[in-house]
Every structure is written in structure tokens, then in C-alpha cells.
Symmetry: C4
Subunit: 220 residues, 4 copies
């Protein structure tokens, strides 16, 4: 009990700094991938930010683990947080969580349930699509026979993969790129699952309401 | 209250003229893309129609905004209308709304709820598929290495993309064409979501009814 | 009333002959497409069967239309039957209907609701996939740049299209083949909608029952 | 009754040995496909394991059929078991069943209903994806014009097919490979159905709970 409220207080204090750190990490990774030939000074600056923000994520996770009364249960329940610490490029998922928590704290949420799920789906697609494009562009660079030649190709590939369209005009050819692609496909199927569920429920719901409204109006 | 009823009255008056204007805009855009080498007189005629109908959309939006008691709330609630004013090629979406409203005004709608959602999905697919084919054909024309060479190719590409099949025999190669493709994929996923939701609910519902009917018949 | 029972009686008498006629039509079309160089005698034999069965479909539709008290209402309600008369290759859809009706007439159906929908989905996929393969193979034969060269390629293409996978190694290149492909995609999306709906509902349902059973067993 | 409890007892005794046999069969098949040039001694060793485990599956099925009071009903109800005996590469499906049964026997299952379905979906995807990769790699080896050249290509192809993305950069070209591909697509569509159903229901459920929790907190 005491541990839980301490963790909640810690999370409230760290929320904004960690959001900034997440954006900084993404910015540093972007510079690392897209502007490889910076001057040594800048290179060190971005390297410091990369590892500084990563250290911040590790410290945050360690503190929360330390505050929890039963560490094993906490680690198992928050496995996503551990994954994010190991692979900071997945940090956007944590940002989505923070956004969802902020949305739910309001007494009168601005969006309906369906709108919230849709917004989270879009946010996840955008952030993971961006991270995935960066990562795939980096591992495919200079590979023999690569079809992902520019960052624009990587973004295009990410969109084609997330929607499971799969034209096949640009595909990863390295095994690391293919592993990233398989993860993207899995995310894509999950996101389509969310879109399908939300969209169909929202569509049917809204039509039912409009039909009832139209009937009420015709009865008056 | 007063503003709302004034808007409703305005919308009732403008419905048919705006529907005609939407079809005229689509016709003018079609001529602009598919028949580029018309005589100067016809060129001016279609240009006048393009900008005249666009002006009509802007005036309609401005009047509704002016009649609404709280403009900011109205703009936020009807964001689709603003999008349609900025990108008149998305006007078909507004036509789908008008069709849906007309359908719902009848006291005894001809189609069931599922039939209505299906009809709207089909209408959206047809209109957005047609607009998207025109737009992609225009931006891909003459691009080096383009595989969308004729308007038929563009229509074929739109169908392959909307169903997320993605053969990859014809793909956009310019960045503007790829942006259009990403929008088409998003629409495709949403439409598949609608089809999946409607189709499965309708299938299960109809089978349940038939089973009950068969049991009643066997009891007689 | 009188018309309805007369139609039901007519349908009961014609069910088996029409099923045989449907299979004969499919066999004749198969021979026509796959064995083009038969002897003149056989050619005439299969031609007679093709037009004979087609005539049977038209007569059946005409009799039912004649028996119905309100022809316009009947034609609108049974639009699928009219479509099947115009395009006898879609006849398999009517066979699926007959199978569904026979299944539902039993007082104790052998399959659960989900099993029935799944069986119908499979039957539709098999029959329409077969018809579509034949039709696409016929229109793509000899087209310049065609990638559907054998009937095996056509069947492979039909499977790839119905599942919306879309590898793109074999694609139709003629406009008639592409129209067939668009129809196949639409059928594919609808079938996936049925599979998704049935599979998920069945999965969740069966797990719920098993969980309850396991709890009951542990309470004993 | 007596037969049913005898079968249940037999299944309880055989569960662990058959699980080991399944893993051994998969290992032997893996060696057979991936390490074709082993020494004659090892070749015979793996051949013995392949046919020994297969014999174990056949004996298990025969015993259960012998114990059942009505053999025909049992065979029809457990058609998956017969399929697994004929095609032991589908054995993973039986392993998934065993895992599901073990999960459900616990009085307090560790995972929620949605978590269990998700775990089964993942397990099926992994095991069938692995078996399918091995089988496709074997039948495509040395085919003229093959694009699946290494086992890595086969795994990549399996992932692209199961998610129905279908890039088309690696595709089977032999008819046996294409039959395997059609089976993989069918499995892929079913798995996507499961993911879509589970994911959407879980998402909506969890959001509803969080919203209620947030409201309760704001009321305190």
C-alpha cells in the first residue's frame, strides 16, 4: 500500500521530465541516423543526450522497482517498462501510456471511449512508424541489393507494412531489417485489430443513435 | 438554439445546390486531369466551374460558421467540413453525409442498419477511390520510372490499395503519389473495418433468425 | 399468400434438378476453358449443355417471377437470383444458398451456428475461387506480358487474392482480368469479415465454456 | 461413460511423453531438412526418431479410438487428431491444445481469457510458422527460378504470409510450395481473426475499466 502510493507520487513528479527525455532520445537517435557526418563536437553532444536519457529511463525504472513492496510481481506486471528500458526506441509506447493516463485523469474526458482508443492507435502508429523507419533505414544503409535507399523510402515502407498492404517495391534485405519488418507487421495487425474494433462499434453505435433521433423527430 | 435552427434551415435550402456543385467540381477535376489539351475556351469554362464551386463550398461554410452561436465549438465539431473546404477533392465524403442524412430522415428507412452502413461504405469506397485515382494519375504523370501510366492503371491501383491486397505491379513513385497512397491505405483499413463489423454482425444475425424460423416451422 | 406457397412448392420440386444443372454448367464451362481443342462433336455437346442449363436457370427465374403476386417486389428482394441468371458463373452463390436452406430445414442442425457460417464461407471461397480462376485464365490467355500462364497459376492467383495477401508474382494485365480481380478482392474482404467475426466469437465462446467447465470440475 | 473416463486417464498418462515425442519429431524433421548431409549413423538415428515418434502418435490415436464406446462419433469429433496422425508436421496444433487444457485445469488461471487466447494465437503462429518454413524450404530447394534460397528466406516468407502482408520478394514457385502457402494464408487469416477479436475486446474492456476507475477516484 505505502509502496504503491510512493510509486504513484514518483510517477507524478517524473512524468513531464521523462516525456521530455523521451522526445530528446528520439531527436538524438534521429540526428544519429539521418545526419551521420556531424562535427565531432556535435557528435559528442548527441551521444551524451542519447546515453543521458537512456540512463534516466534506467534510473526511473530502478526507483519504481525499489519502491514497490514486491519487486518480482511489479516487474512481471510492468514488463512493457522493462522492454522499454532495454530497447529505448520503443519509448514511444510509454509516451502513449502517459497520454492515455492524462486523458483518463480528467473527470469529463473530451473524447468518447472510441475516440480515445482511435487517438491512441493513431499515436502508436505514428510514433512506432517513425522509430521503425529510422531503425530500418539505419540497418539497410549500404546493404547490397537494398531497395530502401532514402529515409523517404523507409517511411513509405513503414506505412505499406503497418497497413499490411505490402506492395513489395521496397523491402528490407538484411536479416536485421527483416526482424524489424516482422515486428512492424505484428504491430500493424494489432493496430488494424484496434481500428476494426473501434470503427465498427463506433459506426454501428452512431447509426443507431441517429436512427433513434430521426424516429423521435418524426413522432413529434 | 436560434443559431442551430437557422443552420438547419440553411442546410435544408443548400442541400441540393451543394450536391450539384460537388458533382460539377468532380466533373471539372476529371476533365482537368483526363483531357488536359482542351481548347482555351473550354479550359476557361472548366476553370470557372472549378473555382466557382470551390467558392460555393467556402461561402456555405462561412455562412454556417456565422450563424452558429459559438464559432469555435462549431468549427471543432465539424472539422470534416473545414477539411472538405481546404481539399475540395474530399467533397465526396460530404456527399456521403448528405446521403446518410437523407436516408435517416425517412420515418421507415428502406434499408436495415447494416444495409445502410454497407451502402455508405460502398459509396465512400467508390467516390474516394475515383477521386484518389484522378489525383494519383495526375501527380504520377511523366514521373521517371512511373508504373501508373494510364487512368486505368490508376483505378486498378486504387482498388488494389483500398482492399490492402497490394500486388505491387503498379505503385506510385513520387512523394506526392506516396502520400496519396498512405491516405488510401488508411481509408482502406477503415472501410475494411466497417465491412468486417457489418458483415459479421449481419451474417450472425440473419442466421440466427433463419434458425429460429426453421424451428418454428418444424414445430407447426 | 397463394403465390408464396406456390413459389415454395416450385422451389422444392426444382431444387435437385437445378443443383445438377449448376454442376453441369460449371463442368461445361471448365471443359470450354481448359480443353479448347475438342472434336466438333464434343464441342457441340458441351455448347448444348452450357446453353441448356442457362435456359433452365432463366425458365426457373421466369416461373418464380410469374408465380409471385407482386413481381417488382419479388425482383428487388431476390436481386441475387437475377444476377445469377445474367452471369451464370455466379451460380455457385445460389448453390451456397440451397446448402444453407437444406442445413436450416433440419430440426436438429448438425453444426452450430458458427460452424454453419464457417462452412458457408469455405463453400463460397471454394466455388467462387474456382469460377474466378477459370474466368481469369480464359481472359488472360495469350495477352501480351501476361503472368497467369497456366490454370495452376490462375488458382494460385485466386488464393493469393481472396486472402488479400497479394504477392504480385502473378497478376492480371488485361482490363477484363483486372475487373475480375477487383470482384475477387471484394469477395475476399467479405469472406475475411465472415472468418474474423465467426472465428473470434467462436474462440471467445469456447474458452468461456471451457473455463466454466474447469471451475465446476475443481469445485466438485 | 466408462470409455470416456478411460480415455481421460490415458490422456493424463500420455500427455508428457507425447509432448516430448512431438518436440523430438520437430527436432528430427529440422535436422532432416537443414542438415541433409549427416553421417550415415546419424541419418539412421534421426530416421528412427522420426518414425518412432510417428508410430507413438498412431498408437496413441488407436488406443483412444479403441477405448471410446462409439468409434465413429469419436473419430468425427476429434478429426484434428486424425489429421495430426496423417500429417505429423501439424503436431504443434495438438501441443497448443495440450497447453490450453493445462491452462484451463488450474482453478485460478494466471492469464485472463483474452490473455489465454492471445497466448494460444502466438503459440500457434510460432509453431505452425516454424513447421511451414521447414516444409516450404524443403520443397522449394533446387527448384528452377526459386526465390526461397535459404532457411532464413523461408522464415521471412512465413512471417510475410501469416500477416497477409505479401511483399512478393520471396514466393514459392513449385506447386507443393504453393499448396503450403495457401494453407499458411488460411492459418494467417484465422490468426488475424483471433488477434482482431481479442485485441479489440481487450482494448475496449480495459479502457472502460480505466475510465470507471478514474471517475471513482475523482468522486472521492
Amino acid at each position: 500500500m505505502r509502496g504503491d502510493s510512493a510509486i504513484a507520487e514518483w510517477e507524478r513528479y517524473c512524468q513531464v521530465p521523462l516525456l521530455v527525455a523521451s522526445l530528446l532520445y528520439l531527436a538524438a537517435y534521429t540526428v544519429h541516423v539521418l545526419v551521420p557526418e556531424v562535427s565531432p563536437g556535435w557528435h559528442e553532444f548527441w551521444l551524451t543526450i542519447t546515453f543521458g536519457t537512456w540512463a534516466a529511463f534506467i534510473i526511473d525504472y530502478a526507483v519504481r522497482l525499489g519502491l514497490s513492496p514486491s519487486r518480482w510481481v511489479y516487474a512481471r506486471k510492468h514488463w512493457l517498462d522493462l522492454l522499454v528500458v532495454l530497447l529505448p526506441l520503443l519509448r514511444p509506447l510509454r509516451m502513449v501510456q502517459v497520454y492515455a493516463a492524462a486523458q483518463l485523469r480528467r473527470p469529463h474526458p473530451r473524447l468518447s471511449l472510441e475516440g480515445q482508443v482511435m487517438a491512441l492507435t493513431l499515436l502508436t502508429a505514428l510514433l512506432l512508424g517513425y522509430s521503425g523507419s529510422l531503425a530500418v533505414y539505419r540497418v539497410e544503409q549500404g546493404a547490397p541489393g537494398a531497395s530502401i535507399l532514402t529515409f523517404g523510402d523507409a517511411v513509405w515502407w513503414a506505412c505499406v507494412t503497418l497497413s499490411t498492404t505490402g506492395y513489395g517495391d521496397v523491402v528490407p534485405v538484411t536479416w536485421r531489417g527483416r526482424v524489424l519488418a516482422v515486428l512492424m507487421m505484428a504491430v500493424g495487425v494489432a493496430l488494424i485489430g484496434a481500428v476494426v474494433g473501434v470503427f465498427s462499434s463506433w459506426l454501428v453505435q452512431s447509426f443507431r443513435e441517429k436512427t433513434q433521433e430521426a424516429r423521435r423527430r418524426s413522432e413529434d
